[in-house]
């Protein structure tokens, strides 16, 4: 494969098309395939040859592909055979190498038009309906939208899949990717429960050999799980090289606000780049809860003086704190259901419920 001639290559493409060997054809058009490195295929002007062997629109596609190889562009063409319009996208992406920013949006546009074609394919039978291509395209679109921070554009896509009858029958790989993005979106929308479901699905079904993908999923699954009260084990963090979370986990579990602040600061760049800094920041609330729970356990009383919280917060070096702010923090926890109880302003005391004053995190929110 690595050193076939152009004619052999084109013949292969032709036969693949002819025999409906979609995946093979996709390989032949994929940049991950070794043929890309074949100097014999790297023609600057492959049009004539392609035209001789292949029919439109494939000749154009393949020609574009071959020119891309010579231009060393890079795009994954899996299932490209289904979407002749991807030619355009390929061309776009090729151009886009130079100036990625704008081109991403244009690529998204192209993908979107492909998507529309696929989504509106009501005629073809189930077996080879273009609808099978929807999820792939959606995943690509997600990828772009997440990159250019246009998450609101994902909504119609999600709706399209939700209403699709095929949604559970796409290939697992596609579904894992899809759920990953949907989970991430839900997380950013602070819908942690659905986010957890999606990401868990994604993590559990992700192929075991795709460690990198599993790690990526974990990066988002961990904060969500922690917010919902499930702390990851050190073992897991080690396995996936996510030790950045180790201190965070520990701090949250212990209610060690100081450590949490430190840990967040230390890995701030990493967390921000992953887009989870703001999510992890919300762990502070959980940490407050755990801290206050410790106070409650130490004092062994249902009437807890606010002073006690002030002291412990000062110990955690929370700056600029006063009783009002303590009240505020407590009010928030009570409001969110993390603490069952009330504050008596008159007595400056927190009165907690005698039963289960700190309900388990998983039962809250």
């Amino acid at each position: 494969m690595a050193h076939i001639t152009i004619n052999q290559y084109l013949q292969q493409v032709y036969e693949a098309l002819d025999n409906h060997e979609g995946s093979f054809c996709a390989e032949l058009l994929s940049f991950k395939h070794p043929h890309v490195a074949n100097p014999r295929l790297q023609l600057p002007n492959p049009e004539d040859k392609c035209q001789q062997v292949l029919e439109p629109p494939y000749d154009e596609m393949v020609a574009a592909h071959l020119r891309c190889t010579s231009a060393a562009a890079n795009h994954d063409f899996i299932e490209a055979y289904k979407f002749q319009t991807l030619v355009a996208e390929q061309q776009l992406l090729k151009k886009g190498k130079g100036q990625p920013g704008d081109m991403l949006e244009k690529a998204a546009e192209q993908l979107m038009s492909c998507f529309r074609v696929c989504a509106s394919d009501n005629r073809a039978g189930l077996d080879d309906s273009k609808k099978w291509g929807m999820l792939f395209l959606i995943n690509q679109l997600f990828k772009i939208y997440f990159k250019i921070n246009k998450l609101h554009l994902c909504k119609p896509l999600i709706r399209a899949i939700d209403s699709s009858t095929l949604k559970d029958e796409y290939s697992m790989a596609q579904r894992v990717t899809y759920k990953y993005y949907v989970g991430r979106k839900a997380m950013f929308d602070s819908d942690f429960k659905p986010a957890e479901e999606c990401l868990s699905f994604s993590f559990q079904h992700c192929h075991r050999s795709s460690q990198k993908n599993k790690r990526m999923i974990l990066i988002y699954l961990l904060p969500v799980k922690m917010l919902l009260g499930h702390m990851p084990t050190l073992q897991l963090l080690r396995k996936y090289d996510l030790m950045q979370f180790a201190d965070v986990t520990k701090a949250v579990r212990e209610g060690n606000l100081l450590l949490l602040t430190e840990a967040l600061a230390r890995h701030e760049t990493f967390f921000i780049r992953c887009g989870i800094f703001l999510i992890l920041e919300k762990l502070k609330i959980i940490t407050y809860r755990n801290l206050f729970k410790t106070v409650y356990q130490l004092l062994r009383s249902h009437q807890l003086p606010l002073e006690a919280f002030l002291v412990c917060l000062r110990m955690m070096k929370v700056d600029g704190l006063d009783l009002d702010e303590v009240q505020c923090l407590l009010a928030n926890l009570i409001y969110m259901g993390h603490i069952k109880g009330y504050i008596s302003h008159q007595h400056q005391k927190l009165v907690v419920s005698k039963q289960n004053p700190f309900p388990p995190l998983s039962s809250v929110s």
């Binding site: 098309l17 002819d18 025999n19 492959p46 049009e47 004539d48 392609c50 035209q51 001789q52 029919e55 439109p56 629109p57 000749d59 154009e60 020609a63 574009a64 020119r67 355009a88 061309q91 776009l92 090729k94 151009k95 244009k106 009501n122 005629r123 073809a124 039978g125 189930l126 077996d127 080879d128 921070n149 998450l151 950013f188 602070s190 921000i272 780049r273 887009g275 800094f277 703001l278 920041e281 919300k282 502070k284 609330i285 600029g320 009002d324 702010e325 009240q327 505020c328 923090l329 407590l330 009010a331 928030n332 009570i334 409001y335 969110m336 009330y342 504050i343 008596s344 302003h345 008159q346």
Partner: protein, 765 residues
């Protein structure tokens, strides 16, 4: 679409100006037909669609098959290869399509129930009764021709050269055929004389109500039914089933029975099946069109009465329209090939089968095979079918029927009479192929083959070169499927010029072709640009500097935001138009952003700050921190955590030190954690104009905070406390705010809020 079709038909031929409906009514015969049909249809009234559906259907049914490639194909074909055109007139099939024969019992689940059992008869009894009754066979031929023509015209408006070319070809061929073939003369005559009538007929057909009705009556089905799989229905075979038709049909070319009710029952059922298999309206349209043509031919040549309709393969329904038409071209070849040995007879039918039999042999893969059928495979199929067919059918019949497919393709070019039509169609197919290749400059070998093949086909051993034709056909089918013309020029990748169309719009940014304004007015009304700017109305920068001073002054003295905003927008526009992106631009945007902020116009503000973000890259401003802070606050306002995160990524440590930015960051942290106490403290010490921005979401946050407080504190909470926590600077505004939310106080001590009672009120508000 109907309108389009009308235009497409040569106006000169339109001798009967009357409206189709009118014509229909004038047909007394038709009344009978309708009644007859009604009796048929009554049995399955449930299938009828409400008459309201008719209109779209009618319109649609005239849609020309947009099959570009096929046209070309119809002319080069060696005429001799064609069987003589059967001049035997047949009742026009189309009406038949439209009626509903009883459903074949064998048809699996018909979701009829979904369809309202609409007034079954209305489709037929209605005002639009179909005019076919009166049409004589010649008309029919003409009809074919004209329809094809008009279709062609429609489909290929842009390709006049082709059209001309083809017409020439057609004429040529007709000449050829006219001589050699027994009925050619007839054909020609028809062509020459009957055109107008045919057209008229065609138009009437277009209007036929039944067409519409039927089309919409057909329940959609998910899967295509392939003919062979259908168990035979009541009638064992299609031989002369229908009452009274065959004699006339087979003998006289003049007096064929046109009545729909005369059509073979099996055929009606077949039609029914075809429509039943349609999934979408488009499918139905296509089916209708194809059937109309096919059946017409069938009826005309009499094969309708001999074919075993029960075993006919359904037309390929899943395909897009193009696919139908694509297939014919390919089939054309096949039939041509097959014809070789057999003379015109055998394959007409065989051919016809081919038309629809793409899917027929049962294969589950039939659909995909149509996409790019492997040549050998389909050829084989064709062959075998042909054999079968010719065995069962009478020679003449089958020969006639073989015409159906080409007819489709021919139609596009504008067929003439029948014989000519057919011949031309085939010849055209060849020619087109050859030409397409030539145009494309592709596969010279193929060209050679095609040429040779044509001749060979004539001689009967064309099978040798089947491969190329198949490819060509596939190519065309694909092209049609995607509604693309086959490439008429050698492929040239436009990769490098791909963005030109867009590029000319987008890429031609203002910087690329700067204009310099000449307008000297200090003020200018803002109008959204809808065309290229006129330098005479654009102010150059030095004037704009005066303008902005004037606007600032006006704003300070009058505080007229509408005026200020308009002026600022027009200044911005002038800057944009001239491609000015300098510090002055930054100043303008900052100024406008501030004014917008002050008036709480966050849309305008957002426009400005977005621009500023881009402008700051080239024009660092001392206000960078300030506006970065505003942007952060704005994201808090819109709760856009995604953008917020991105913004955090790009915050340099130096920028974080900025007093505005750090304030915004702490405010954000407080906001994120619901630390309202700190949040409102920060609000009270907001730098510059940040408080204007925070004002936008102040109420929102206050409400949340208040809810939390009211839920937390028991039994009471001093108002004083609320006031400080929520950042009210004076008690009165706080009280007013609380009153607005329906907070209640203890009667004994009005300075204390009754938390429990208020909580419910605030939660509800």
């Amino acid at each position: 679409m109907a309108a389009k079709a009308t235009q497409a038909t040569p106006a000169t031929n339109w001798s009967y100006g009357a409206s189709p409906d009118g014509q229909a009514h004038e047909n007394p015969e038709w009344e009978k037909a309708r009644q007859a049909l009604a009796s048929i249809t009554k049995s399955q009234g449930s299938n009828k669609a409400p008459p309201a559906n008719r209109t779209p259907a009618e319109v649609k049914c005239d849609d020309p098959p947009p099959v570009p490639g096929l046209d070309d194909q119809s002319s080069n074909y060696p005429p001799q290869a064609q069987p003589p055109a059967p001049a035997i007139p047949q009742p026009p099939p189309s009406p038949t399509n439209l009626e509903k024969p009883p459903l074949p019992p064998s048809i699996p689940p018909l979701p009829n129930s979904q369809y309202p059992p609409a007034p079954a008869q209305s489709a037929y009894n209605g005002p639009n009764s179909m005019p076919y009754q009166s049409v004589d066979p010649n008309h029919m031929r003409v009809y074919n021709h004209n329809q094809g023509r008009s279709n062609y015209g429609q489909g290929f408006h842009a390709q006049n050269p082709y059209q001309q070319h083809q017409q020439q070809q057609q004429q040529q061929q007709q000449g050829q055929y006219g001589q050699g073939l027994g009925r050619g003369g007839d054909v020609n005559k028809n062509k020459n004389n009957q055109k107008p009538v045919g057209q008229q007929l065609w138009h009437r057909m277009k209007q036929s109500p039944a067409a519409g009705a039927v089309k919409f009556n057909i329940p959609k089905r998910p899967y295509v039914m392939t003919g062979p799989n259908l168990p035979p229905v009541e009638q064992p075979s299609g031989l002369n089933l229908s009452p009274g038709s065959p004699a006339g049909a087979n003998t006289a070319s003049g007096a064929a029975p046109m009545r729909p009710q005369d059509w073979p029952q099996a055929m009606k059922e077949y039609v029914q099946r075809c429509f039943t298999a349609c999934e979408t309206e488009d499918d139905k349209d296509r089916t209708e069109k194809v059937l109309k043509e096919v059946l017409q031919d069938r009826l005309k040549d009499g094969s309708a009465y001999t074919i075993d309709w029960n075993r006919e393969a359904l037309p390929e329904l899943k395909a897009k329209q193009s696919r139908w038409e694509a297939v014919p071209s390919q089939r054309t070849l096949d039939s041509a090939i097959s014809r070789g040995g057999r003379g015109g007879g055998g394959h007409r039918l065989g051919h016809y089968r081919n038309v629809f039999s793409q899917r027929s042999p049962s294969s589950s893969s039939s659909r995909s095979s149509s996409r790019s059928p492997s040549p050998s495979h389909s050829r084989h199929r064709d062959r075998s079918q042909r054999h079968r067919r010719s065995d069962s059918g009478s020679q003449s019949d089958s020969s006639i029927s073989s015409d159906l497919r080409p007819q489709l393709s021919r139609r596009q070019k504008g067929g003439r009479g029948r014989g000519g039509d057919r011949e031309r169609g085939r010849g055209g197919g060849e020619r087109g192929r050859g030409r397409g290749k030539a145009n494309r400059g592709r596969r010279n070998a193929d060209d050679g083959n095609a040429g040779v093949g044509g001749k060979k086909r004539k001689g009967g051993n064309a099978g040798l070169d089947f491969h190329d034709p198949m490819r060509e056909a596939k190519k065309q089918s694909r092209a049609q499927r995607f509604h693309k013309q086959l490439r008429s020029e050698p492929l040239v990748l436009s990769i490098n010029s791909l963005d030109l169309p867009n590029g000319t719009q987008e890429g031609l940014s203002w910087e690329d072709c700067p204009i310099v304004g000449t307008c000297q007015d200090i003020t200018k009304i803002y109008l959204r640009l809808t065309c290229a700017p006129d330098p005479a109305t654009v102010r150059p920068v030095h004037v704009l500097r005066k303008s902005i001073q004037a606007v600032k002054l006006h704003w300070k003295t009058h505080h007229d935001y509408t005026y200020a905003c308009e002026q600022m927008k027009s200044i911005r526009q002038d800057l944009t138009v001239q491609g000015v992106r300098t510090e002055f631009t930054v100043e303008v945007y900052e100024c406008h952003a501030r004014i917008a902020l002050e008036k709480g116009d966050h849309e305008e503000f957002n426009q400005c700050q977005t621009q500023l973000k881009a402008l700051y890259k080239d024009n660092p401003s001392e206000n960078l921190g300030e506006f970065t802070a505003y942007r952060l606050l704005y994201y808090i306002f819109t709760k856009n955590s995604g953008d917020l995160t991105t913004e955090l990524v790009y915050l340099t440590p130096a920028l974080r030190e900025d007093s505005c930015v750090s304030h915004a960051l702490s405010l954000r942290a407080a906001w994120a954690l619901g630390n309202y106490n700190r949040f409102f403290k920060l609000y009270l010490c907001a730098p510059r104009m940040a408080s204007y921005l925070i004002d936008k979401f102040l109420d929102r946050e206050r409400k949340i905070a208040l809810r939390a407080m009211l839920k937390t504190f028991r039994p009471d909470l001093p108002v004083q406390n609320v006031q400080s926590a929520l950042g009210f600077t004076c008690l009165d505004t706080c009280l007013a705010y609380l009153a607005g939310l329906g907070v209640t106080y203890y009667p004994s001590d009005p300075s204390k809020i009754d938390c429990k009672a208020s909580s419910a009120a605030v939660a509800a508000s």
